[in-house]
Amino acid sequence: MLTSSLQVARRALLHYFRTPQLVVLGTLQGALFLLIFRYVFGGDLQGHGTSYVDFLVPGFVTTSVLFSGQGAATGVADDLQQGFVDRLRSLPVGRASFLVGRAIADSIWNMWGLVVCAAVGFAVGFRPQGAVFDDLAALGLCIAYGFAFEWMFVLIGLLSGTPQAAQGMAFLVFPLTFVSSAYVPVSTMPGWMQAFAQRQPVTYMVDSVRALTLGARAPALLGHAPAYFTGWSLAWAAGTVALCAPLASWWYNRS
């Protein structure tokens, strides 16, 4: 069971890291995205009490798990369509191996994306104000959020059937990431949009990371202590896993 999950994970990781479009373009795209926000829009955007770069980078790093997580949806759909899932099911391996293996691989892929994004963030002038321990905790939270969204993407991949459909359905990351506090403060949005932006999980997650990296100023700037955002975020993450993981394994196991 462990061996087979690791084999599935290794295969998915080799696929990610040997596809130049995913590694090079994915990284470049992320970097470009950050540069545009930092230098093109950033001139006119304020951090509301802090520099825009210190406001933006936590949002950018946190939402990166949603962008790199999309790979899980297309990957799962591809494995279904191209017969890898059939082959796996016809082999004497535990049924859970596929989903567990994917979860391992996609978590590692997410971490790679997080590290790259954080490095680009530092390069454009981001400087966390909190203790090193807080920064590590922030990174840990991002990994946990990535893990939660991964199950959503795996479920999308299973339900959509074809990689193209999976990619189309993964489009929902755009409202989730942009209509949140990731790139601009929610208070600048129209009232009806704030109603969604304030309550949706990505905002809590971004603010939890922001609270940890802003240091002592965080409660004053964000209105709540870090524990408030972290609590809500982890609750959302746990809820996502609790909903999507059983659905995904039910869908995978039925035949």
Binding site: V8, R11, D86, R87, L91, S97, S255
Partner: protein, 313 residues
Amino acid sequence: MTAVIEAHAVTKRFGKTLALDGLELRAESGQVVALLGPNGAGKTTFVRAVATLLRLDSGDLRVAGHDARRQPAAVRRAIGLAGQFAAIEPMMTGRENLELVARLFGLSRARARAAASEVLDRLQLSEVADKLARTYSGGVRRRLDLGASLVGAPRLLLLDEPTTGLDPRSRSEVWDAVRSLVARGTDVLLTTQYMDEADHLAGHIVIIDHGQSVASGTPAELKRRVGGRVLEVQARYAEDLAVVAGALERLDQGHAPVHVDQATRKVSVRSASGADWLGAAWSALETVGASVDDISLRQPSLDEVFLSLTGGK
């Protein structure tokens, strides 16, 4: 003889479609058994049931002596599956793909490596083994996929339309690979839409349609039941079609129906005799003065075998 697959009254329904409708099938060990039928006949559904990928609604299915429903794990240890798609990871080399499947089959790292090398040798893939599978041609990909189903040294190999979508050269490469497997004693269940594929590879053919077994036997037996060969003439001009049809009808004294296809300007007739048929037809056509682009004597096509065995229904 022992049976490697025994299916008795197996039924599977998908919504309103009855994919398997009381199918009866017995595949003896020691040969290639071909499941022949048109698209939607139930071939893939049956293979998936044998591979324990789907659960039958009713009926008995025994694979390599195990009940497919109650002992799926034992069945999985006995089979290898190669599907319509080549289930290989394009970003891994051929060798890595095979080692992956071997590891999943439960072999240790060292044994997986040895098994992969052996299969690569056997399928003559050693030369390309260390290139990414992405760079392989369609035929090589299918052969590698075949190899992946072999690394676990299965007793029964399931090949679901192994050559669909391949060019003729790749097709014959896959055929050679299958033949070499049989020579080593692996039992094979193969599905195909092509009569010639079944003819080349199989010792026993089961024709299925609408989820039922319509006929079965050796290729020779089936062809005898259908009768002889098909003489096909392509006329140069559409106006000549009636004359050509008349000439061919007289040739056979009107025993077999003459089929005329306006679109391709082809006239065909089936006959049980056939020894000196081509010569006789040629002179008959010369006598009536029809211009002919092509004339050939061929095996009945799947359509023709099919129409004849199902009484054209």
